[in-house]
Symmetry: C3
Subunit: 672 residues, 3 copies
């Protein structure tokens, strides 16, 4: 196989008669497809009963795909258990947040603590690896599917207590972490601890808990418990397939699982790109860029895969619009622009029945190849072929980091007070959008990342401060870095207990201020913030700041704290530390972030052309490719570099006027 | 008893001391009441313990009603079980959609699969028939009450599996019907099949299912299971009462039960008319007309009964407004105008306590006969008496048919994709409203109806195409008929699996087009559709149509499919087939429907007078009565026919100017 | 201890290391704190296992507080059970309205019918009383905490049946009370009766029940069941502490518990003042005033305590704003102005973790005493010290009564029909607001109160008429009183069964009218009511009134009942009876209420100065203190009395111009 961008998607020939397979391959070749993901959800097919396996169909599927020259992504089927399993082992089904034991149905339905499910899923993974592990067409293992959800069954309760035992060692330490003297919760026996749900600590739903510490630990535990299934299947695969990389398809900005805890166990990252509908194309583009960067950041910048995207429509939304002409191509290239080495679809042939029968596919129910969708799929396939292996393995250098922390995400959204309308992802995406529009060279990394390679670190809602983070941030600033953080940062320690010091806790001295009060208001209440002479809108939370030696850059315009600081900057060592004490509107955020980037000259190319995205990938041999993507209206821009647009072979000089129609894509191999 | 329109209502003397009975009959006579429904919900009274019956009060009630010359509708009490039954047989209570076993409470609360409930309810029906079956005053049997709801208990699970066994014969066929290779659902043992609810295939509620086929079959099964109770009680009645007709009070446009599956088992149709509050009087009127027609269509056009309506207010709504002056009379006559031979109230005397104590009644808590409500009830009674038997048994000839299909209703609303904001009844009522305003001679019939007697067939959202429907529609068009259908029609087969052909499946060739894509948009997004030179609004779904030989009559005005077909018409044989590829606004629907009616000269009288409804009933002897009802403002109209208004004895010539004040009613016996 | 207004709050030193205690007392002294509430939620600390008690920490806490000269409010810890209790006795946990047994979590979580919980909580109360009952620093016992919620477990079912047995004596009487002939509900065995919840009589939630009588009785039962726990703990305390008063912290306008049933068992009333956020400061002030008056009315006008208020923010709301400068002082004085002899905070030191870690406190996480909040707390402390014992024990004479009735509150909100948008508290607060703005001398009392001491009685939504109420109201009017009531009054008897007479039942003849119909409309529908020449807005319900000898003062302007009475007044004996047949807007309510007050010259001082509240307390020796509180903008007013403002020592003559800045407070000791 010639190395080239992976292109293909989920393929379930076991759902179709053999004559359809011939049509499929004829069409897929037309479309430039080179990769098929097989075996997802095929468990009932592969193992019709606990004591009976039947690989005959999968053998034929793999043989045919191999014969057709496809690269095969081979999935373990554990994303959906077969009916016989649930029937024989009812405790393999989950207990939900309401405390109800489920019976058989849907998918992603297995309790991660069920020994029977574990045994059977791992056995299946091992058998698949044993049977297909030495087929060189198998280029990757795809374990399970979109891990997610949670279980609150008694067995998970037991596993939770074991997990807590390992984490805390003693009940005294656990009682301290959870602050159980509050409301008479001191646990005197491990057995007293219950999974936190609507029958115990919660009311009104998953975000309302009496004991944040218990719920936080359950989220951590459940993320680990699900990971346990992945790790066990991977180990079974490794017994027969020593080198083929193993991944699972993640879901980008997905709150329930801490992908940073998963990252070390993946051989490469992959994810499913289904952005929520948003009337703003550039907001959607920026959101996808954030997810791509988060996924890339899991494995320290290594290329990742887009394991799924839809060629046309989704089916699971209330309203499912079709991708407009050119959008499929634009988004496919955006994936590559951010570091994807493969872009796959769900799915190659449209389902006949059940809840995804209207989900888009490369081939529709009639199997036509003369549709708009098929034509656009083929165009992308043809461009990927043209570009060949040019960007494979290339990485994206970055001098700016955006910190993401699942613990802070969880903690800030389940906090009682000050304001439940503050949503972590709203604030994160607002700060990211301005970095995206600035075309800054950006990594999205965990709080444990080494900050020393960056010049600017942006950390909105860094609510929880764990380990040596404050020390590392301080060192980063001392060494010349610019640090930007916001309201509600520095509030709690790893156990979600308040720091018994001035707010913002370990950042107070770095930022040169203390927060005396935190006001909160309804979403329609605006407090105007004047910043560098311009007025912006602050909303939701308004911290009353007592500056120490921080410079006051912006002030509130209203309420009893009018005239007090809303934005500050403290010079520290060779660097600076910015604080934004309220949630600013987009323009306000942009002003702060641009100033921070300016301190290091890190505003990127075409930053002032709305909706035009520019990224770079640098190959191991030093070749640089610049991607220019237009998510908005037609624009004419100056080419930021000299080189050759690989998509049309045209030579471009830096400064050349280039027309960018809507959905335009340039892939410029830069002159050395 | 002189034959005359049945007039009366639910009457529960067992809830009142005997002295009240005297007052009741004095008042009811004043009001012209001739019919009483007794025994509804009287189970605890009739059978205070499993081994003890007590008919003494009912004997007295029946004797008194008989003595007063009333016609008696005798109800079986199975609509609400007594406390002792639930206490002794807890499994007679239902398990709800959340999987919770209910205990005693409310009504309509019995599991249809409970053998104990079945045994006891059937025994009761038999005893009632044995005791009162030869009383000639008993003119009808009323089994249970407003059958509805559903149960998801283990016994229903068993019954479901039996039902499936009969339907499919083999698991292979069932797996194919449900497309179970998707998500590893292949069933290998009947016992693995679970009732679909929140503990199995559903999330977010009854409309969101992972497997449409399973949920669809459960709806069919539950409709049949409830019917099973009716059929068993009817059989017990028939052992002692060979000829008295048996019915149950249905609920019109009621989604959970497929009344077309029930119709063959009813001796006549009857229903309860409680239209939802709607600020538009004519929308309400049209909605009631649709329900009347649907009920009339159950038994091939035979007269039906309105078993319940409120004389003034409901109590179960959040906001319960009183019927405005004249409305009771107008709606009562509307019932007759559409084929009712009886119009009854819930209830004759207002309840003293519990959840219907504020529900309206002919007699209020004080028993007054000098209230507005009592006066209006009496006026109707007096008019019914005046009209006598003139329209009894008369039928309504129709050349236009509107197709209603519960399977399509269920399927389109539980579909994942393209748009959950599409509600079957919204679209059906929109198409019906324009037929109603056109005063077309209209039947509302199932998809199995013989179409050969119609000139125009309108079939909105005919999502599912079952049996030989496509062939029959094609034959209808070939023979000169006009067929009108819409977006989302022709999508799935009887199992809710997509047709593996061009959309709209078996209608594609008849309509002369294929649908390549289906776009969906939020409710506030409009795509203007230009049709015969006028612009209308399309919403929700926008199918991208590739016409074959269909004539393009309307086109989209916006988006990437601007200029492509939105409304088409294909000439076929001697007829034509229309397709509306989006959901048009009312004016757009009216334009299409009027054109279709015009092809056959079927626009009815006074079609251009807003809110004036005209219907006709033709007696077996050929006498024709025209009903003219004004649901809007005062109008002066030209009398469409010559004849005599039975309500005031006035002679009218065709073309005479007639003043129609608000709520006016004419019942014109037409000159021969 | 010098007698003085109690000032302090909840204090949990057991949650902190000893060194923090020193800081606490140093700070609390600075702030003028003289009272600490200890022991709330300390159960797990005091009794780490069923067979092990440990009072060592509480001993130290009490000793230290005593040594510091604090008055101690000693709490029993039964508001939150320890984990071991729930683990050992799972049936001590509640079953919720959905029928789910809860496991350990949160607080206020014990089943009131659990014998184990009862035994253990009572034993604990007894031990505390035994140990600390003779400490003279202990000035009050505080049993449990914010009693509330409910349980629907089988044991509560049993207890409910026993309670019913005592209430009704026989099933016949119960069947009559519940009107069980409706829907076949006749109970033939006590064991058939189920707690009413989502598994029995309810749908859509707690307000929707098939049998109002059952649900109403369950509310009464549950209020009594919770009271049973209080009474039992109090009895255990009394064995060792004969004279120290016992209370519990109530919650003001709290629907689930009928505080009038509790009142006789309290030695003094106390409550927690957390008004819901309302953008209108004066609405909030009036609402708090209503709650203060309701609490004062529990014990016939005796002084009460504010047991909790927040010094700054809450944490449990979605949006938690800080109290603006001056508000803490204003509201603290408002409490005193309405009869509070103590004003306490939750809490003295801010929690470190769990769901109240962001709830405000006198001392924040850093323990600072230089914050705005601490300064304001200290200012109040200093003013309380200045005023000393001047108003302690003083009472508030009143000639106007507002009737509050939990049964009516419950009944009207769970009624099916006429309008679920009618909320008891909305109407009550609307009538109260105008009495509040009028600075009328007002009591808020139960329907059982002696009315003979009042001149005006206002009774909105007096839905249920119990006992001899109608007779007492009639006697009150005959004797010269003015009675004002509204739509939906006089509808049902004590069992929630309709009166079988004209509406409004026993008030019809007093009011000189009957209500023939009750129309209801959506919230946006207005029917204009012309009253004394001015037009006001009526909404929600519109009763059609047939006047007998009542004078018509206001009429509807629209709909078919335009021109008919909307407001009437009947002269009776030496008094008058007003009826408002719709829900008027605030201005309309004010017009009616002012007229009624005017009949007796009871409009109070400064009634026409918006947002300025005036109340009076009269000491046993006859000294009168007038409180003037400005909840709005700056105003200059004429001093209504001569005297001395205790807060600044300034002498004031009646008629003096006094500037009232926002949040101004005057406490004027009146010249004799």
């Amino acid at each position: 196989m010639t190395p080239q961008i992976g292109y293909g998607g989920d393929y379930n020939p076991e759902q179709w008669p053999r004559e359809v397979w011939d049509d499929d391959y004829a069409a897929l070749k037309l479309a430039g497809i080179n990769t098929v993901t097989v075996g997802v959800f095929a468990w009932a097919h592969l193992q019709p009963a606990e004591d009976r396996y039947d690989f005959s169909t999968l053998d034929a599927i793999v043989a045919r795909a191999t014969a057709e020259g496809m690269r095969i992504v081979l999935a373990t089927p554990s994303g959906a258990m077969p009916p016989w399993l649930a029937h024989k082992y009812p405790e393999a089904c989950r207990v939900d947040f309401e405390g109800r034991r489920h019976v058989y149905g849907q998918r992603h339905n297995a309790c991660p603590s069920s020994p029977d499910f574990r045994r059977l899923s791992v056995a299946m993974a091992g058998r698949l690896a044993e049977r297909y592990g030495d087929n060189p067409a198998v280029v990757a293992w795809h374990v399970g599917n979109e891990y997610g959800g949670a279980c609150w069954c008694p067995r998970c309760g037991e596993a939770f207590r074991e997990w807590l035992g390992e984490r805390y060692g003693s009940l005294d330490r656990l009682n301290d972490a959870w602050n159980t003297t509050f409301w008479s919760h001191t646990f005197t026996d491990w057995a007293e601890i219950q999974p936190p749900n609507m029958l115990s600590e919660h009311w009104r739903g998953p975000d309302h808990t009496a004991f944040q510490g218990i719920t936080l630990d359950y989220k951590r535990f459940m993320s680990d418990a699900l990971l346990g299934g992945f790790v066990a299947e991977k180990a079974a695969i490794r017994e027969h397939s020593a080198h083929t990389p193993v991944t699972t398809n993640m879901m980008g900005l997905y709150q329930p699982i801490d992908y940073h805890r998963w990252a070390p166990h993946l051989d490469f990252a992959s994810w499913d790109n289904y952005p929520p509908e948003d009337p703003s194309a550039s907001r959607t583009a920026a959101r996808m860029a954030l997810a791509h960067r988060l996924m890339r950041g899991l494995r320290d910048g290594e290329p990742f895969w887009v394991m799924e995207q839809t060629p046309s429509v989704t089916a699971s939304r209330n309203v499912n619009s079709v991708k407009r002409p050119g959008v499929l191509r634009l988004w496919s290239w955006q994936s590559v622009a951010h570091g994807a080495d493969a872009v796959l679809y769900f799915q190659l042939r449209q389902s006949r029945g059940a809840c995804e029968k209207y989900h888009g596919a490369v081939l529709d129910h009639a199997g036509r190849t003369d549709t708009r969708v098929f034509r656009e799929v083929s165009e992308v396939g043809s461009e990927f072929a043209r570009v060949g292996d040019a960007v494979l393995g290339a990485r994206t250098p970055a001098r700016v980091a955006l910190l993401v922390d699942w613990d802070s995400w969880w903690a800030v959204e389940m906090s009682d007070g000050p304001n439940r309308n503050v949503r972590y992802m709203d604030v994160l995406t607002a700060y990211h959008r301005t970095l995206w529009q600035a075309n800054a060279s950006l990594d999205v990394v965990p709080v444990t990342a080494d900050l020393s390679g960056y010049d600017v670190v942006v950390a909105p809602l860094l609510h929880m401060v764990k380990g040596d983070l404050a020390e590392r941030v301080t060192a980063f600033v001392d060494a010349g870095g610019t640090f930007v953080t916001t309201a509600l940062s520095g509030r709690v320690d790893e156990d979600d207990n308040a720091f018994l010091t001035d707010v913002p806790g370990p950042f107070a001295s770095l930022l040169g201020l203390r927060v005396e009060e935190t006001d909160a208001q309804q979403p329609d209440v605006v407090n105007p913030v004047t910043l560098f002479g311009t007025e912006y809108e602050g909303r939701h939370v308004f911290e009353v700041v007592i500056p120490d030696d921080a410079e006051v850059l912006g002030t509130y315009g209203a309420d009893f704290y009018a005239g007090t600081p809303a934005v500050t900057r403290a010079a520290r060592g060779r660097g600076s530390a910015w604080y934004v004490a309220t949630l600013l509107d987009d323009a306000g955020v942009a002003t702060v972030v641009r100033k921070a980037l300016d301190e290091h000259g890190l505003v990127g190319p075409l930053a002032d052309v709305p909706d035009v995205e520019v990224t770079e990938r640098v190959s191991p041999d030093g070749t640089r490719h610049l991607f220019v993507l237009n998510h908005g209206e037609a624009r004419t821009v100056e080419c930021p570099v000299g080189g050759t647009n690989l998509l049309d072979g045209r030579a471009l000089r830096a400064g050349d006027k280039v027309d960018l129609p809507p959905a335009a894509v340039l892939v410029i191999r830069q002159d050395q």
